[in-house]
């Protein structure tokens, strides 16, 4: 297994003395690279320093310094801490930064997101379109000078609500009496909405090419799947170009559930964000809470109560089990076995949700973690329920599901050898989570860069080597078993004691600086990038969502396969639109 590498400091400055400087702002770390030499430095980091996984790309608008900054986080798939480097550009349009898509293909969607929301132009990006909003939208909402239609104040709590309490409907304050914002003297008559030509042009134009000689020449066809489609797992839309039934080119279109998580987060206070993280990956609110709590604790530099650490692990692993059970049910649902396996999966999920409800008060949106611990202790009867589930019921049910499903002829026929993703391609596309591990890379943050108390448990990183859909299916069962192992140990070791190292408080003090915290969510590497300027609200709040980044690999995986298998592939990637679109 990959042991965590010891913290090594990488001396990038002496390697590139002319154009790399250390980031010396208080609370910040990493390096600042001149944008002209960005590609050169990135290539060296990948090839010389072995940072093969581009974790996150995002931007920060430092409006006071008149700078726009692009932040890159890199990691090694062999484990250990990562490295962060930044590049800065003057805050004058067009803000051009070279694209790193040729170094790491995984930069694709993340750079498009930075263009969409911050207006950073990545030169050399082959398909720089808006990704979460639509073409023709006015403005880049994450810039600090952007004010949404229902803008009230820069930060919460709004003075009208607290302490005065004279709140009113947001609609009354807006000139349009609605959540809209239009340019002055806007006239509908002479307005021509942007059409979606750019999307269809981005599909590889093999259209007029005819197939091989002994086949009948056929035209290619463009099909739109979604955003309303029974098997797209939410409101994902995919534009597919087909040759008969074979996919020749494919582009996911997203943003149909873009709920402005980042912008609302930057208006909120630190604690107010916690319930919003629930709604990212709405299957696993506990895992999302975990990631956000870890990040802010890093920034605040506070310890977590010992008992709370164990409670966190127990909740996160229970969450992983129910997520994977639903995954299996839904995958088989999409393969055509309408509903029966899902019903079995949901039966177990309900029992786990009962536990969540007992500890937090809500089935799905738990809002359970606090900085320094959790909000409530586990009640005694809930503890007994967890023990019964972990020791008796869940192992038996997992066996039962495996016995019924694993050898099923239809399932094996549909999954084996389909949509193979090899390790190299997976890493290049920044794929993380079970999909990466099924491709043969034993990269699990609980081992590779342990957080919380995961270093105290004896468990194996589930890994499979074929990278096809069948392995992806099996690895979920492996992970359920490993989670049960962790749970057994955690239930045995959990100490008595307080559940929070801090006093309960509405407003936390967060020193200035930046933090990048990441956890192994059931979908992959869930990370939060938070920049604080010492005020009660985060200056920059960004979510690196595993579902979103994993979608980057879809295009390479699908070329040359049948459209019917694409439905299964979407199930296999286990995407949640709340997290993809945020």
């Amino acid at each position: 297994m990959t042991a965590p590498a010891s913290t090594t400091t990488i001396d990038l400055v002496s390697r590139f003395p002319e154009f790399v400087t250390a980031d010396t702002r208080p609370g910040f770390s990493g390096f600042i690279v001149k944008k002209e030499n960005l590609v050169e430095v990135a290539t060296a980091l990948r090839d010389e320093f072995n940072f093969d996984l581009l974790s996150s790309v995002t931007g920060v608008d430092y409006i006071a310094d008149n700078k726009m900054e692009v932040v890159y986080h890199l990691h090694r798939t062999t484990g250990g801490p990562g490295i962060v480097f930044k590049t800065q550009v003057d805050r004058v349009d067009p803000m051009e930064v070279p694209s790193l898509i040729d170094v790491w293909a995984g930069a694709d969607f993340q750079e498009r997101e930075a263009w969409d929301l911050l207006g950073i132009k990545f030169t050399g990006h082959p398909d720089l379109r808006r990704i979460l909003l639509w073409e023709g939208y006015e403005g880049h909402p994450l810039r600090k000078d952007y004010q949404e239609a229902f803008f009230e104040e820069e930060t919460k709590p709004f003075k009208s609500r607290w302490p005065e309490g004279h709140h009113t409907y947001a609609e009354f304050k807006n000139p349009f009496r609605d959540n809209i914002k239009l340019p002055e003297n806007f006239k509908l008559d002479n307005y021509q909405p942007e059409n979606e030509d750019q999307l269809y042009f981005s599909l590889e134009k093999s259209s007029m090419k005819h197939t091989s000689e002994n086949q009948m020449g056929t035209d290619h066809m463009v099909v739109n799947m979604g955003p309303h489609h029974p098997s797209t797992h939410g409101v994902l839309r995919v534009a597919v170009e087909l040759n008969g039934e074979t996919i020749t080119s494919l582009k996911p279109v997203m943003g149909y559930l873009h709920r402005n998580h980042d912008k609302i987060g930057e208006r909120n206070t630190y604690l107010q964000i916690m319930p919003f993280t629930d709604r990212l990956d709405y299957f696993n609110s506990m895992a999302n809470n975990f990631g956000y709590a870890v990040t802010v604790e890093k920034l605040m530099n506070i310890p977590v109560a010992e008992r709370a650490e164990y409670i966190r692990v127990i909740m996160a692993e229970l969450s992983r089990i129910q997520n994977h059970l639903i995954f299996i049910g839904m995958l088989i649902n999409d393969l055509g076995s309408m509903y029966t396996p899902s019903l079995y999966a949901f039966e177990e999920r309900e029992l786990i949700l009962d536990i969540f409800e007992a500890v937090s008060g809500a089935r799905m949106m738990c809002n359970y973690f606090r900085f320094g611990g959790v909000v409530r202790d586990i009640p005694a009867d809930a503890m007994q329920k967890i023990k019964d589930l972990v020791h008796d019921r869940l192992p038996a049910k997992t066996d039962e599901m495996e016995r019924f499903l694993n050898e099923n002829e239809v399932l094996v026929g549909r999954l084996k050898g389909v949509h193979v993703l090899n390790a190299e391609e997976a890493i290049r596309n920044s794929v993380t989570g079970p999909v990466l591990r099924a491709a043969g890379v034993p990269y699990d943050l609980r081992r590779a860069d342990p957080y919380s108390v995961y270093d105290r448990f004896d468990f194996d990183v589930a890994v499979r080597y074929n990278g096809d859909m069948y392995d992806n299916y099996l690895i979920r069962f492996d992970e359920i078993r490993q989670s049960l192992r962790i749970l057994e140990q955690a239930l045995k070791q959990i100490p008595e004691g307080p559940i929070n190292s801090q006093k309960p408080q509405y407003q936390v003090r967060v020193p200035a600086g930046e933090a990048y915290g990441r956890v192994e969510s059931p979908k992959g590497e869930l990370a939060f990038y938070v920049v604080s300027n010492g005020k009660p609200n985060p200056y920059r709040y960004h979510v690196r969502a595993p579902s979103f980044v994993n979608l980057t690999a879809v295009e390479t995986m699908c070329k040359g396969t049948k459209i019917a298998d694409f439905v299964a592939l979407l199930a296999m990637l286990d995407i949640v639109m709340g997290e993809v679109d945020r």
């Binding site: 909003l133 914002k181 239009l182 340019p183 943003g255 149909y256 709920r259 309900e350």
Partner: protein, 213 residues
């Protein structure tokens, strides 16, 4: 029982001898019509966000919406009776929702599930969020919660059944003469921002006034 007075086919004030109750009913056309509809409300298989997961949970064994004749989820709007708006309505998604609604045949109902669909909920301030589907579609039942539990969803569905019970075949809008598509909603435009074409004049006037101010 007062609260269940609509559930059966029989009119409550007729005493039918017990031995022929299985074969004889005394009822009205309205009651027969509504009795058939109330137990077979087919929802559109349509999920937007978190609430959709609770909608699925309500269909599974523990809650079993099939008890109310609502388990037949139709993937196509042409076969659906009821649109369950289960989740945050974003500006980018709204044209698709309205297209689906317009494609549904009458009689059709809209249920706003959860805080977001009812009012925008926690995301109301967002620049890409529509503050409630009722700005565009006529909503029959609102279900509070974030997300509503399956029990709350079923309670909301029962409210819809009550609403169906009170309709009369003589007065319902879909049998009115001379009215075609009385519930047609024009498609909004995704321009610099979402534009509701029904309010076009008002919006244009507001855009001009802003310059003068």
């Amino acid at each position: 029982m007062e609260e269940n007075k609509y559930e059966g086919l029989n009119l409550p004030n007729y005493n039918i001898p017990e031995d022929i109750q299985n074969v004889v009913s005394v009822t009205t056309i309205d009651r027969l019509y509504n009795w058939g509809r109330r137990w077979s409300v087919w929802p559109l298989m349509f999920g937007l966000a978190c609430c959709a997961i609770e909608m699925i949970a309500a269909q599974t064994a523990r809650y079993d919406m099939a008890r109310f004749g609502m388990e037949v989820m139709r993937p196509t709007p042409r076969q659906a009776d009821m649109m369950l708006v289960s989740g945050t309505v974003t500006k980018k998604m709204l044209p698709s929702i309205i297209r689906l609604y317009n494609q549904m045949p009458e009689p059709k109902y809209v249920v706003a599930m959860g805080a977001c669909a009812s009012s925008g909920g926690p995301f109301k301030e967002g620049y890409n969020v529509v503050a409630g589907i009722d700005k565009f579609l006529p909503v029959d039942v609102y279900i509070p919660g974030c997300p509503p539990t399956p029990q709350a969803l079923i309670a909301g569905m029962m409210k819809l059944q009550e609403k169906i019970d009170k309709q009369s075949i003589k007065k319902v809008r879909w049998y009115e003469k001379g009215k075609v598509d009385s519930n047609y909603v024009p498609m909004p435009i995704l321009g610099p921002d979402l534009i509701d074409v029904r309010r076009a004049e008002e919006i244009e006037a507001a855009a001009v006034k802003k310059e003068g101010a």
